[in-house]
Symmetry: C2
């Protein structure tokens, strides 16, 4: 059995994140932080793109799922792990289950991107489709967990998941120690809260910004309202960012994130086109949102050293939004 990591029941400490990073490293190898000097010259700032799309599942979610799975006892693992997800967390849960040789049960909304459904199947998970609502997801998952005894790895309301996602920022700051700022996308807030938490522990005054589509600007509104807000609709290309903040992630974001920037669909598409066409990086719409936030206000970032977390690259290439 792979070594058991701590099962966290409260906000991860610095030492817990360090132990988790050490524990997941063999299953979740580091991703590079790429710099493009010509882009820096054109934009007037120094950008380091943390390429989370280079993970086996094409997204950062492998960090959190691995952190959570490795915190289970052998008996718990044997009953399997389960989750609901539009895609990348589904793949992550399926992938780590396959690596550990345990069952994975995944509830996916019927409108999830084909590429994410296929990949999840490819890792050998049992998939159950449901209506694309939060209620339908949760009902389907509850039923499965009761029937199988599988452990539910929540996509973001889980401190082991948050600690796992925090390792992206930890790794980035090991690669580029003197960043002024990190921009991460925000959906449920697992990546953003982990990024902000670790940046706080790093203690160098690093400014952490969240970025989300205007169409699902619940994080922006939640910070202003001081309570978790919902989205009326979810009409965005950034399928990974449709979820709203959770009870574990919101307080961390309130405490450690300085601002949430919102971007239009056209700005997401323009950033994605630039990532593909100039930087030669396959990035999904959700993963392009932080770069869109930077491009929207490039002059505000002049002279800064900025980490941009490219959260994933799973996209149906049949219908690239930047191709007319």
């Amino acid at each position: 059995m792979t070594e058991k990591l701590p099962l966290l029941v409260d906000v991860p400490t610095r030492e817990e994140i360090e132990a988790i990073h050490q524990g997941i490293r063999a299953l979740v190898p580091p991703t590079p932080a790429l710099n493009y000097s010509y882009l820096d010259r054109d934009l007037g700032c120094s950008l380091y793109f943390k390429c989370e799309q280079f993970h086996e599942i094409g997204a950062f979610k492998l960090r959190g799922a691995t952190s959570a799975a490795l915190a289970l006892s052998e008996a718990q693992r044997a009953m399997g792990i389960a989750t609901h997800s539009s895609g990348n967390h589904a793949q992550a849960t399926a992938c780590i289950a396959q690596q550990l040789g345990i069952p994975a049960y995944i509830v996916m909304p019927s409108n999830a991107p084909k590429v994410k459904i296929e990949a999840t199947k490819g890792f050998g998970a049992a998939i159950t489709f449901c209506e694309p609502t939060q209620q339908a997801r949760e009902a389907a998952l509850d039923k499965i967990c009761q029937e199988t005894g599988a452990y539910f790895i929540h996509p973001y309301n889980n401190y082991n998941v948050i600690a796992g996602q925090a390792t992206a920022a930890k790794e980035l700051l090991e690669q580029v120690p003197d960043l002024d700022m990190i921009i991460a996308p925000v959906g449920g807030g697992g990546l953003l809260s982990g990024t902000a938490l670790w940046s706080h522990y790093a203690g160098k005054g690093i400014n952490v910004l969240g970025a989300e589509p205007q169409a699902v600007d619940d994080a922006f509104r939640s910070l202003h309202a001081g309570s978790i807000q919902q989205n009326e609709s979810a009409n965005t290309l950034a399928d990974g960012l449709k979820t709203t903040l959770g009870e574990f992630t919101f307080p961390l974001i309130q405490k450690y994130v300085s601002e949430i920037h919102t971007v239009s669909e056209a700005e997401i598409i323009a950033a994605m086109a630039m990532l593909w066409k100039r930087l030669k990086l396959v990035t999904e719409p959700s993963g392009s949102v932080p770069f869109a936030a930077l491009l929207r206000n490039a002059e505000k970032f002049a002279g800064k050293r900025i980490g941009i977390i490219l959260s994933g690259g799973n996209v149906d290439m049949e219908k690239l939004p930047f191709i007319a």
Copy 2:
């Protein structure tokens, strides 16, 4: 004026390549060598992808063009630089001319990929279109050079260009010192001859393989015949590899390259799809050819540590060949 590099009239020495690498570094920053541990696990070998598509022009050609341009006197530079190219060398010549503030005159075949034409224009070069034959290219270029006094930077039959392209392998071996083998694509042979020459100077018994499309297998046939062979036709997606070997590149390839592997169009498309969909790297068909050669015979490479030169990523995304 930027420092002048040596103008080479014979096979570059080890010291000359070192001086040229030092001299071009500020204008041609290093590209990363990426490893994907899950891919290594699946294929049974260790692959390091040298990402030459991350250069400002999206291809390795910036190395050679910069090496050649910096070898010119100030008076020569003022009259400009010129070339004929289906695309990437055109962009490279235009880009370095723009950086140095000198004119660039480019002859391009009328069927060059739109993305490469647009990019060349974007660097401010004067473009002349011609019929897509070697004769038409050379005639158009001769006329321009006579009229303007511009210096012709040959895409590969130029020892400064070969020395510049050699810096890709030099950099790769600095990043991953213990490679058993490097696979590079071969068109005119500038990149392959430079790769082989530097690997020879590195003196560690590194095996250098060339890879080319079956449809334009002139390098394969040239090595077997012992003389430069032509292609009857050039019906391949790998637009950058349609040229045949030159008098400067062929002897180096004869001397220092162990084998040329050829791949079918279907194999090129499959390798390109894998680079995009799994590795999340935008790579053009020509740049996908070395990986296609590896995938064709993956079992032959078992246990080896292999550098794969991804030569470029300039491709019209409207018509991706791996999308039905």
